[in-house]
Symmetry: C3
Subunit: 346 residues, 3 copies
């Protein structure tokens, strides 16, 4: 990943911020303080990491506006309001240069059904498949090998990267980003079971992805049995996450990698699931509730809570339970002493 950035360009990008020290040359990389080499840009996101600053080989460091002290010789500090956001600004500029751009038009190896509606501004990648009746919005990007099945719709400026599947009749909103390997609209997992086996229940509903949703690599979103599975606006889903049928996710939720939400569960807005969390089916999780990694939510929960454990409980209670178990040997010893004393008393 080869790029260069001059200090002048950097200062211009960040506005007229205060700087200390001087670095003559061009930047060729970004790294954390402890890992940066000469010629690289770094940042002090938190005063707790200030101890790394003194020894950092970084040539330029974004530091908080109120940072005191002096850079070491050959190092330059640029004072900014929020170094992490300033770095994101720089990265956004670099991204414009680095990120492959998808040219408008249909790649000669793609297959686009004649009944699909594909605006001239859309980009259809190599080996992609756009089936009958599909409707793509302005500026939509369809990556290499991606399949948009019959009757599905994708809103303006959404990006489906390589090897994504959007199932028949499903809806993806505007400004969404679906990573490689995502499957939207697989069948829900529902059967009528008896002693002879499991008879499949038809899954004819949709999966609806609202606007500004991001879905990570190889994550799966099932279609509903008859109505819809819905991912709320602005919700961000990490890799290898499972969303069952008829699930409703609120707006601006965060679902970390390998978490799963079982069928018909409903999450409010701004719910956060840590990695490998499981949410059982048919329950509701209130707005703003956070579930720590590997926990299993097994019943309805209110808003604004922090839950841990499997089954998940109030996080502080769960921590106390761990502490209580640690105390069992001491209890046992106190009990033994009491028994001894009582023996002597007889």
């Amino acid at each position: 990943m080869d790029w260069t950035l001059s200090v002048d360009d950097l200062l211009e990008e960040l506005g007229t911020e205060r700087s200390q020290g001087y670095f003559e040359g061009t930047l060729t990389g970004i790294a954390e303080l402890g890992k940066a080499h000469a010629g690289q840009l770094s940042f002090l996101s938190d005063h707790r990491y200030a101890r790394y600053l003194g020894e950092s080989e970084a040539s330029v460091v974004l530091v908080p506006a109120d940072k005191t002290g002096e850079p070491r010789a050959g190092q330059m500090w640029i004072h900014v309001k929020d170094p992490s956001i300033a770095l994101a600004t720089v990265c956004s500029r670099l991204e414009k240069r680095l990120l492959p751009t998808a040219p408008a038009g249909i790649h000669p190896t793609a297959f686009v059904d004649e009944t699909a509606q594909v605006p001239a501004s859309a980009s259809i990648g190599a080996q992609a498949v756009i089936e009958a009746g599909v409707n793509l919005g302005e500026g939509v990007v369809i990556g290499a090998g991606t399949v948009v099945e019959k009757g599905a719709r994708v809103g303006d400026h959404s990006v489906l990267l390589s090897r994504v599947t959007v199932g028949w009749n499903c809806l993806v909103g505007s400004h969404c980003l679906l990573h490689s390997g995502v499957v939207v609209g697989s069948d829900g997992f529902g059967y009528h079971s008896d002693a002879s086996g499991h008879r499949k229940l038809p899954q004819i509903g949709m999966a609806v992805i609202e606007d500004h949703v991001e879905i990570g690599a190889n994550s799966t979103v099932d279609r509903a049995r008859f109505a819809e599975t819905r991912i709320g606006e602005g919700t961000k889903i990490d890799n290898l996450v499972q969303i069952g049928h008829n699930v409703i996710l609120g707006k601006h939720c965060i679902l970390c990698a390998q978490s799963g939400v079982a069928g018909s569960a409903e999450l409010g807005d701004f719910v956060v699931l840590g990695g490998q969390v499981g949410v059982i089916g048919h329950i509701q999780v209130g707005d703003g509730t956070k579930i720590t990694g590997q926990s299993g939510v097994s019943k309805n929960t209110g808003s604004g809570m922090v839950l841990s454990g499997s089954p998940a409980r109030d996080h502080r209670e769960e921590m106390k339970r761990h502490a209580h178990v640690s105390r069992i040997p001491a209890l046992q010893e106190r009990l033994r002493r009491l028994e001894e004393k009582l023996e002597h008393l007889k």
Copy 2:
């Protein structure tokens, strides 16, 4: 997802069942009682939900044969033996209309090796790849971008949706349904390890999927080291499930999303794994045993059991253990009082 269904068609589909009330118009959707709008069909699957019935805006509701009372004005009740099954019957009819049908023949963008056996009744989707020596049964559907590797066989009327991989020499039975992103026949995870690293053990066995198996999106089934990994007839596997090498799954098992079965484990018939369950390698799980979500099965287990926890134990015992931990503070308090009393006695 636009469809309409007249009440006459609905009554005909369900046979000559009893109805109450009247709805003039056509149905345009299906929803749960609490979410249904006018013009939609709903159902009362369980008398526990009867409280939602009075306020439901659904125009037509499938109710149990013994349901008493009266529908509200403008609502129609149709009495059926089992509303859930009746709904499935209706959905099956709609599915015939909605589900994209795959036309027999080979899509012009597909690649089919000249040595592959593809009957005229089979449907090969866009950008699909059928390698040398592959044998497909009658009516097989191969979705867009799906790859069937050298020498693999797929039985009659099986459907491999978009972007599936069936590895070389593997077998998929008849009437199977493999969802998008499924991988059958990846190498088992086996190495000879020493201080210099890990030397790969050849994985030359097969993965065999028996008839009537369904495998969910992005699930993976490893091939065996030298013999076979086998998924028993009628077993249903949800999304993002991992089946290790040499695993034997019995008939009619249910594996919920994100569960995993490690190498050489054997599950009996009708075993149920909840979501995110793990089964350790080289153990046996008896017929009909059910494992609750997020549990970890670490040793052989008998038939007909219900297990919970990690490591998994009898479910009631695991529940008791949780209750015992809850009691530790009370035990501590009783102990403190005893110590106090004993101090006074001295």
Copy 3:
């Protein structure tokens, strides 16, 4: 999977080892002792399984050099130093016959950008996509439907099986094996969040896969925010594993199926993660440390440890904690008796 192997060829393959008994015919399969039929090869990897040997129908059995006793009539024993390694040797020979070979050259249905560097020795499969500026090494195999995005590089003799994605600008070393559905270089999961929602942080770093790495089906490796995510040489990753952004895995690690490592965590060399293990972000795990299945590592850990549980602790301590919980009912009973006695004393 049809193959035959004569006993003469087998003896030649294994060198001049000692044998007992005689089998006239050709071998047509390999199976474990308890499952082998006549005509099949089996092996006694461990004296613990010797009880299966007497009843095994296997026609030829690889046994340890020091195995005493006699084969049953019609069975042949071949004495070898290590039966498991000897079997791997045989399987390697069979693999050469069975494993499909990828012919050098570009499949007519593949798309290769004119700016990509593809040596004549490389094999590009059907429907594959090689984007602009890609650089492939000698003997590289690109499977059917695999996408190598702009500017990515793949080292000599690496094999990317069907339907793999290597993201833009990412690096895959030499002699790597990436299974079907693998995604290398998906965006890291990072946002600036406030009450209005989550603003995406650009993810412009790389994912770097060092030499001799194997990555299992449908596993995902995120690119770094600005520097690199790195998988160390010789590390082996199973199916459905998640590697977050900026993660550093050491050399020769083993990550079992469905494990996940969150952003910026660092694992040393020879670390082993069991199935479904989670490692929280921004922590370090020391060389050679082993984490048992389903555990959750939540803080820095030293080298050479064995950890269990969620949160993970020293394995023996975790086992003791389970035992302590089992003792609570007995403690409760002892406490009750003490209370009774004390009542009487009053």
